[in-house]
């Protein structure tokens, strides 16, 4: 062990001085919860990162596959110490660690995705993915023949529940007889488990499978069975060209370019922002060739209504699974209600546990 220590000390002496010197570039660091090669959530954020990397005077870097909790706190602290101007954390579990780090480094701007806490130098952002989910639900509802649609879901947290509800509202808007069956995988990225979960839904008669995870596993399950699927995060049609109807997708570039511009100009203010389809942060992937033209037009018309602010999706009357009215006729759900959603709308088969 002594020798090991001696070797280590030697290395240290050799390279301690060669620490990377700070340059005047505007530095933005990203923390991802999964590897960027996952074609899903982190991949979609990384596309946004690449877009701002291309801007003049901006350099970016990222650390991938960082577990939520104490490890993320260390990575963020490390970035702040290395004089990153903005630190972006893209998973819910990074929220509390980021809050701690933000207090220690008041000059750094911290941006957290998908949470609800803010500080003077920490903002949070998310996108109204439920708008795109609603549209994808319309597609699924129109394409199903068995009137059973499967939904492979990650964790019973408000973000996912909100997505399932919006999807179901979309399904029911075009096909009141259809139901959405939910299976929880308790994973964000586990191709095998997620594919199996997709298969289990097909076995109970679903002929369209939607998903809320980062792997294309459920898409592959649908393709193998010869039925349809709805992707998520990014256009997943490459994984299941025959099954992929469309996908609600993220377009983080829109937000990242805007926020960096604001921070550089000094006009950025900490707060919670929740842009949607109108801003372009969420969208629907191109339709597959099997989606009929009339349906495409119908969905696009609804999309135009969402962008115009005429279609707010969670508008009463909305009942929960037990039939109790959760949202009175004409009432529009507030952002607080949406962010803390823990119940399923009528038409979902499954539990929020």
């Amino acid at each position: 062990m002594r020798i090991v220590k001696a070797v280590l000390t030697l290395f240290l002496a050799l390279w301690a001085g060669s620490a990377v010197a700070a340059d005047k570039e505007f530095k933005v660091g990203f923390i991802y919860v999964s590897p960027v090669g996952d074609a899903g959530w982190s991949y979609s954020h990384d596309l946004g990162r690449q877009a701002i990397e291309a801007l003049d005077g901006v350099t970016t870097s990222y650390v991938e596959a960082v577990p939520e909790g104490p490890d993320s706190e260390r990575v963020m602290t490390n970035m702040a110490r290395k004089d990153f101007d903005i630190v972006v954390a893209t998973s819910f579990g990074y929220m509390d660690p980021m809050l701690k780090v933000a207090k220690q480094f008041p000059k750094t701007v911290f941006l957290h995705c998908s949470g609800f806490k803010t500080a003077e130098n920490m903002g949070n952002f998310f996108g109204r993915m439920y708008q795109a989910r609603y549209l994808s639900g319309m597609v699924a509802g129109a394409m199903t023949k068995s009137n059973t649609i499967g939904y492979v879901a990650a964790f019973p947290i408000p973000e996912v529940i909100r997505g399932i509800n919006a999807f179901t509202l979309g399904v029911r808007a075009v096909n009141p007889k259809a139901t959405v069956r939910v299976v929880w995988t308790k994973t964000w990225y586990d191709p095998a488990t997620e594919k199996e979960a997709g298969k289990s839904l097909l076995d109970v008669g679903a002929d369209v499978v939607a998903q809320h995870q980062d792997s294309p596993g459920p898409q592959e399950a649908a393709q193998e069975k010869g039925v349809y699927s709805i992707g998520y995060n990014s256009d997943m049609s490459a994984f299941a060209p025959k099954a992929h109807l469309t996908a609600p997708v993220w377009n983080w570039k829109v937000y990242y370019t805007k926020v960096i511009d604001e921070v550089r100009k000094g006009t950025w203010k900490a707060g919670a922002v929740w842009p949607g389809m109108a801003e372009g942060i969420v969208d629907l992937a191109p339709f597959g060739p099997m989606v009929p033209k009339e349906l495409q037009d119908k969905v696009n018309a609804e999309k135009a209504r969402i962008i115009a602010g005429e279609q707010k999706i969670f508008v009463g009357p909305i009942k929960d699974q037990s039939g109790a009215v959760k949202l009175a006729a004409g009432a529009v759900a507030s952002d607080e209600e949406l962010l803390g959603m823990t119940w399923f709308v009528d038409g979902v088969i499954g539990t929020t546990k």
Partner: protein
Amino acid sequence: MSLLRIAKRQEPLGVGGSCCVLAAALALSLTLAGVFLALGGTSPLSALSVLLHGAFGSRHALEDCVLKAIPIYLCALGVAVAFRLKIWNIGAEGQFALGAIGATWAALTFPELPKIALLPLMAAMAMAAGGLWGLVPAILRQRLRTNEIIVTLMMNYIAVLLLDYLVYGAWKDPTSFGFPMTPLFSDSAIIGRIGGTTINWGLAHCLVLGLLVWAFFRFTRTGFAVLAGGDNVRAARYAGLPYDRLVFLVMAVSGALAGWAGFVEASATVNRLQPSIMVGYGYTAIVVAWLARLHPLAIGVAALLLAGLRVGVENLQLDLQVPAAFGGIIEGAILLTVLAGGFFTTYRFTRRRRP
């Protein structure tokens, strides 16, 4: 024709020789890692410098390393106790989870207790929960002849699901917008930091528990019985050692130590219970215990080394955009070369003479 022949050494290599083998193994693994980096288009030397700098190159880095090494050390200390008796406890992960659950129960049930009463209570509950979780596979093994590797491994999944069940259900913080986490612990349930550092007092727990485990094997009769039983079960039984009870004991102690790690992690670093507390320390612990040949002091060094590697790899990603998987590759290479190097402490190559 002259060929190499493998011969058993008359005596195992001494400390000096073993260190040489270890250093050579580490150098070999780093070289292998360097080759991978070079294939990926990164300069191995600058990568090594960034890695070491990120792991041990500054006070912050060292503090981060020690912080991360604390739970790994406690889990590894635990599995090493069971491994001494050649009981293959792969269940430190689950015992860690149970420890965190036990400590959290105490923290949430008696938040008003003063620190001096609450922390020991949390530790006791963590040890009890982890110890019992370890005892179950031991009893199954001795009574029903089940394989403890399988049972401890399967119980890890049960433990994690139990943890999920609690944080998604009964213990969920009502103000968390439905997200799975317990409320923050009260101040008296949080292990503080040492002086002006970011290191928590869990480090002191490691020192005391490590010393106790060392003393147990060095000075006590039961400790000797465990070592003897580990060397030869039949001989131990023949000599009248209570083998069943030894198995129960080591598994309970093993589980209690991993449970203690769960307590320290929940209390000192996460300050609450949430699913992301499970980051695989229980599995890392197995690697650490083997690298250290089960010796309490060496486990400390190995835990620091692996913690440093994980911390350093983050730095490598940040500065050179090396993929996260690279950390796993180095870790695997180190384990492989060091274990293979163990061969040279008992065997040597000699030249075969011409007939």
